[in-house]
């Protein structure tokens, strides 16, 4: 009824190819952004910002990165946590060497370091395909994890072996370190994530995105129609690792505050893979849906017994959370194997033609 594009005419190719061709979508997005930028920082308490929103946004960003590689280009990766680590450590090193440059610059630049490593580990993808490629990305994951622990240069030879975030300011306001308020950090993360999401959705809707999708659907056929596989696969690795690297830098600098190599272990890679598969492979918005399920749902489950005044031991809640998450993954896959993004699409389509079935 409200969601209908009747009467909205497109007069140019650009308008037809817009990311949000329907006016109601644009209004909806504006409302969401207004809530995210104004309402949440004004009203949210520390728990909402620190434990829910900042991690949610960062995981979504990493999910977008992985989705570019796995969802759009069809290259299965289990090394994302390693690439997040590269972003974080690159940012840390750059900040040690050039402390006068603003940290936000380094957060974005560290994505490039992650890109370079990603391209290096992406090289085998030209020869090795499908599940076999998992080994290459696992090699990246375990090698990088080992390097973070065993190469002292990376953590400035300190005793703890962890990287610590110092206080850094932007226009006189603390954005990182212990002095930054949750609201400031939230706004910084939100700005970066919004900007990068916007860029990502433009990339995947454009020529490069179509190139990736052709490679995903069948790489030999793509090669025959004139797509250079080397370039397509390596750009996918580069862009994807850039996003994942920035997410990693954000994770350490604006969420954790300090990190040990264990923060980037294989479980984080799995978590990111869950996010994109539950959310929907090959969908930008899916990464956000997936992050809601994978990050926010367990928080909700843990809070549930207290809300219902049932006395359940903490360890048991933890185990039940595991079981429920597992069951949910299977459940979502059975209901909608193409993820929540597909469900969202179906819902919008139904709304458009309502009250008719099609």
């Amino acid at each position: 009824m409200f969601y209908r594009e009747a009467g909205q005419f497109k007069t140019s190719y650009a308008a037809d190819m817009a990311i949000f061709p329907i006016r109601q979508d644009r209004i909806g997005l504006a409302v969401i952004l207004a809530i995210a930028f104004v309402a949440i920082p004004l009203t949210g308490d520390q728990f909402l910002l620190n434990t829910m929103m900042i991690p949610f946004l960062i995981l979504s960003l990493a999910g977008i990165g992985l989705n570019i590689l796995t969802g759009y280009t069809g290259l299965l990766s289990l090394g994302s946590a390693g690439f997040m680590g590269v972003g974080a450590y690159a940012c840390y090193k750059l900040q040690t060497y050039f402390p006068q440059v603003n940290i936000l610059v380094w957060i974005v630049v560290s994505g490039l370091a992650s890109s370079a490593v990603g391209v290096l580990f992406g090289l085998p993808s030209l020869r090795i395909k499908g599940f076999y490629l998992v080994v290459a990305t696992l090699a990246a994951q375990f090698f990088l994890e080992w390097a973070f622990a065993r190469v002292p240069w990376l953590y400035n030879y300190n005793d703890s072996g962890a990287i610590e975030v110092s206080n850094q300011t932007l226009f006189g306001v603390y954005v990182t370190g212990p002095n930054a308020t949750p609201a400031t950090r939230y706004l910084v993360v939100l700005t970066i994530v919004t900007a990068l999401t916007w860029i990502a959705s433009n990339i995947v809707h454009g020529r490069i995105g179509r190139m990736w999708m052709a490679v995903r659907d069948m790489d030999i056929a793509a090669e025959l129609i004139g797509i250079r596989l080397l370039r397509a696969k390596l750009t996918a690795f580069a862009v994807s690792s850039f996003y994942i690297g920035v997410a990693g830098a954000l994770m350490v600098f604006l969420w954790f505050g300090s990190a040990e190599p264990e923060a980037f272990d294989i479980n984080l890679s799995f978590q990111l893979l869950f996010i994109i598969i539950i959310g929907g492979l090959g969908s930008i918005v899916g990464a956000f849906f997936g992050a809601v399920i994978i990050h926010l749902l367990p928080i909700g489950l843990r809070a549930l017994p207290a809300l219902l005044h049932i006395n359940v031991p903490g360890a048991m809640v933890e185990h039940l959370t595991y079981m429920i998450t597992g069951a949910l993954i299977i459940g979502v896959l059975i209901v909608e194997p193409h993820g929540l993004a597909k469900l969202w699409q179906t819902m919008k389509q139904k709304l458009r033609v309502w009250p008719f079935p099609y």
Partner: protein, 318 residues
């Protein structure tokens, strides 16, 4: 020059000057490799018959071992606990077939892979909920597994062989032979091979896919139990063992996803390769390279044979 010397000359000189150490390292790698192969074997069984890349195999191993130890702790004698565990693995196979495989039939590979991730989480939660999250000691004596070590003096030195490791290798050998016989000689084995070859053709000659899946998952569960007992005897039983299970991935991929001999040869290459690498080249890099060496070994092989050593040749058509 020094670095080149340290990489290409010193380790070999060390091997020649102390052959007993070399034999010891190779033996340890061999035993580790056998156990990796067993995990990979479970993967291959399931992948061949149902096309599912069963990520949960490692967790099934831990879960089986945990169930065995947990039941024994709750008072069941060892043999009854063992029988009960086998029964539980059967129930698990039936459950997986009913709840996961049947509704997801004909979905893309990655979706099925994902479903096994879900299964992994579920089993971790369930196992810890029922039996507790603390590491437990494997009931080696009650299962009549030998302990202690044999010292052999060869090549002018001494090599220590754990009796348990010998038993593990023997059990692995028996199991592989048994599975081979089962596949070649029995009715169900033939049906399994038919399904692995072509699902639709198998269906059309009257083989029930659902039944076959239960059988394969059960077989994989029994393999998981045997592997779990062995790994559990070498270190404690806890979900931390799943890191070991991840090592089965390079083994499996190196051998080729569909090949049982591949899983075994792959396991031995990875097991021996990583031990030798860790022992002779590890110190150059500061140690701990065992964590990633297996994956690089597999990667190196794959660059030359993208389908793995014994995998079916990948033919791509437009």
């Amino acid at each position: 020059m020094n670095i080149l010397h340290a990489i290409f000359v010193d380790p070999f000189a060390q091997m020649i000057s102390a052959p007993d150490l070399l034999v010891q390292t190779v033996w340890e790698g061999f035993v580790g490799g056998v156990l990796y192969s067993l995990i990979a074997l479970g993967f291959v069984l399931i992948y061949k018959a149902s096309g599912v890349f069963n990520f949960a195999q490692g967790i099934m191993m831990v879960f089986a071992a945990l169930t065995l130890v947990g039941l024994h702790e709750k008072g069941a004698p060892a043999w009854i606990a063992l029988a009960l565990t086998v029964a539980i693995m059967y129930a698990l196979a039936v459950g997986v077939e009913r709840v996961v495989l049947r509704p997801l039939v004909n979905q893309p590979d990655i979706i099925l892979l994902m479903a096994t991730f879900g299964l992994t989480y579920f089993l971790i939660g369930f196992g810890e909920l029922v039996f507790g999250g603390n590491p437990k000691a494997m009931i080696t004596e009650q299962l009549f597994l030998p302990s202690g070590a044999i010292d052999l003096s060869i090549l002018g030195g001494k090599v220590t062989l754990q009796k348990l490791d010998i038993a593990a290798a023997a059990i692995a050998l028996v199991m592989v032979a048994g599975l081979g016989l089962f596949f070649q000689k029995t009715r169900i084995g033939r049906a399994l091979r038919a399904v692995a070859d072509d699902h639709q053709a198998a269906l059309s000659v009257g083989i029930s896919l659902n039944q076959i899946w239960v059988v394969v998952w059960f077989a994989a569960g029994v393999v998981a139990l045997a592997t779990g007992i062995m790994w559990g005897a070498r270190s404690d039983v806890s979900f931390a063992l799943q890191v070991v299970a991840l090592k089965a991935l390079p083994v499996l991929i190196l051998g080729g996803l569909t090949s049982i001999p591949g899983a075994i040869v792959g396991g031995l290459i990875i097991g021996i390769g990583e031990k030798l690498g860790e022992f002779y080249w590890g110190p150059l890099l500061g140690g701990g390279i065992e964590r990633w060496l297996a994956y690089f070994i597999a990667l190196a092989f794959l660059l030359f044979r993208p389908q793995g050593l014994f995998g079916e040749r990948i033919i791509e058509r437009i």
